[in-house]
Symmetry: C2
Subunit: 410 residues, 2 copies
Amino acid sequence: MAFVVNDRSYDPPDRKLVVICLDGSADEYLDAAFDRGRMPRLREIAATGYRGLARCAMPSFTNVNNTAIVSGAPPAVTGISGNYFLDTTTGQEVMMNDASFLRCPTILAAAGGEGSRVGIVTAKDKLREILSSGLTNGITVSVEKAAELDMSAHGFETAQTLVGEPGPSIYSADASLYVLKTGAALLERNLADFLYLSTTDYIQHSFSHDEAGALEFYTAIDKWIGRLVDTGADVALTADHGMNAKHLPDGSPNIIYLETELTAAFGKGINVLLPITDPYVVHHGALGSFATIHVPSGLDVTTVKDRIAGIDGVTEVHDRETAVRLLELPGDRIGELVALSGRDVVIGKTPEHHDLTVLEGALRSHGGRYEEMVPMILSRRLSPDYKAKAMGDLRNFDVFDLICNGTEGK
Amino acid sequence: MAFVVNDRSYDPPDRKLVVICLDGSADEYLDAAFDRGRMPRLREIAATGYRGLARCAMPSFTNVNNTAIVSGAPPAVTGISGNYFLDTTTGQEVMMNDASFLRCPTILAAAGGEGSRVGIVTAKDKLREILSSGLTNGITVSVEKAAELDMSAHGFETAQTLVGEPGPSIYSADASLYVLKTGAALLERNLADFLYLSTTDYIQHSFSHDEAGALEFYTAIDKWIGRLVDTGADVALTADHGMNAKHLPDGSPNIIYLETELTAAFGKGINVLLPITDPYVVHHGALGSFATIHVPSGLDVTTVKDRIAGIDGVTEVHDRETAVRLLELPGDRIGELVALSGRDVVIGKTPEHHDLTVLEGALRSHGGRYEEMVPMILSRRLSPDYKAKAMGDLRNFDVFDLICNGTEGK
């Protein structure tokens, strides 16, 4: 049942497969938990299978990378370059939280079409909708709608009845655990054999890698990874993006208000769009390390670019053409310019635009290059060819290639 | 005995201190060894003390970062921006392998001046010379000259008599182990109490993180770290830079011959200098992910910059002013432009310039952004203030600040 999606071929072995996208899981989180003996199951997998680092799709955001992972392709192909973009034909800022914006087929839909029993479990329902694009016969569940979505066609009432407990708040550690619990239930009841499980990064936005809140979370995650492995499935784990503290020593967010600075320099008319923006602002206050900049026609783009490049904390600024080439972005869904900021810096629009009171604790966020490297773990050893491949510039959106084509004992 | 060096103050606790710079030790090497139970001592330290990631000085080269670490300052202050630079006053390419090029005092010399018994141990002798700059009363040893340097002033004949075995070849795992053995001997015989131990990256240039050659090396390293810890000293470990495979799937080096490309575009006269170049070419064939470009006066620098930026595999190119600001480089020791290449790409000069036959195995190297993040481990917990600091944009050249000022129980 080999199939081709987005010019890459997949030939899954005759085993149950589970790909986990552990949202916001910078490698340091695994290190801290492993070192303290808090993740014995995943550590064992890492030691006997494969563990390395992979480079995510830019910007290092959730939907960008989840869609890249299930497509095996970068945003230039998927079209998903953030949660928001400016539709220049209508002048409207559009939320890209919808499968209609996805420009390519997914590996999940193709596997389903070839007879795999596909299961998709996400924390947020909007992500479930996007990831289910084109899937005609799989089981798709979100924690957010665990009690609502009718699953009677699959032999159980709702996700809640399957798991045996109510779906928790999206703003909790339990939301991510519930994703894995649902995945384990689907495997244990033999309801699916090709799973994609995508958690949420509430904990990583809240805690540094070695804080108790993170360690407890990863301890619990490990138990459920163990359950997944115990079903005999091949398990792969990666992340959509890393996570860094983005605050000053006094705890206040370290923000470049880019639209404010550009308006002061060039007058009104420049629109700074923050594609991290989503309805879940408690996580990050719509503050990340990536922005797209729409420059009105009267202004010279290079002059604006040079101005942005000189701002302290900005690490990269690219014109559209360069961003398409270097960051693999879809040119029609970014501005004339895109900018990235440093390890401890976020880009905001204007002070008025951001309600910092919604932030719970000090700001931790992502979006830039310092959240680009993420873990890649497989429960099975790689074949020599894929070992060589993994040694190169491995991407997180190669994970289905690795688990379908690259493991030993196929 | 607090002292100030390069505008930062250091107030060492009344304990023996050891800072280890584990050359080329990308965090993946520690992960692979930790996961397999091969480094129980360092893992224990990481779990009970502190472990996180730090950002190194750019370019991600050995001498650049060793001098930054012992100075607590970036290359803009130390002046050491590589192993080579073009002296534009003489037109000569100059090897910066000499303390006369260091532009600032070191923490080691200052600690020695305040009465600490300083010990410096390196693999290569040239690095020992640079790091010993200004040190009047310490013990400095290199593996390369373990049998030659006269140590009779310190109560032992040579490093070889101290360690009790001959100094090994620089091109070996043993060279790095010998550094740690010498450090342990200095502590155990109570000959020093403020140590800087700097290994060599022959193994990391030769082996990927999970290959047997690397795992065996780190297993042996761990034993000697244990010996150091057993002396009761506070131990800090960081790295000068990471390491990545820089070859194509067929094993051949993935090289941009930048001077060749620029000569084809602009004619003769552009000089691409590779500051990784040193006498130890077996490691890397003078191929790294960083170059400085000298543009003759007749050519427009921006035109050359734009050309370089368009080359596949180039990730960043900066004019001098931007390189000084963004990469913290000394403006008079770089060219009109500097360029960085990707995770699996190196920059060469011309095919004729590089003797690829000297390479032992497939090329692994460093110099760019993808070798920028390195481990930072301390054997003692950080105070709350320093914990907060470590959560931000921690640098590897903060390591003496951390071990002197930042640990609990001072």
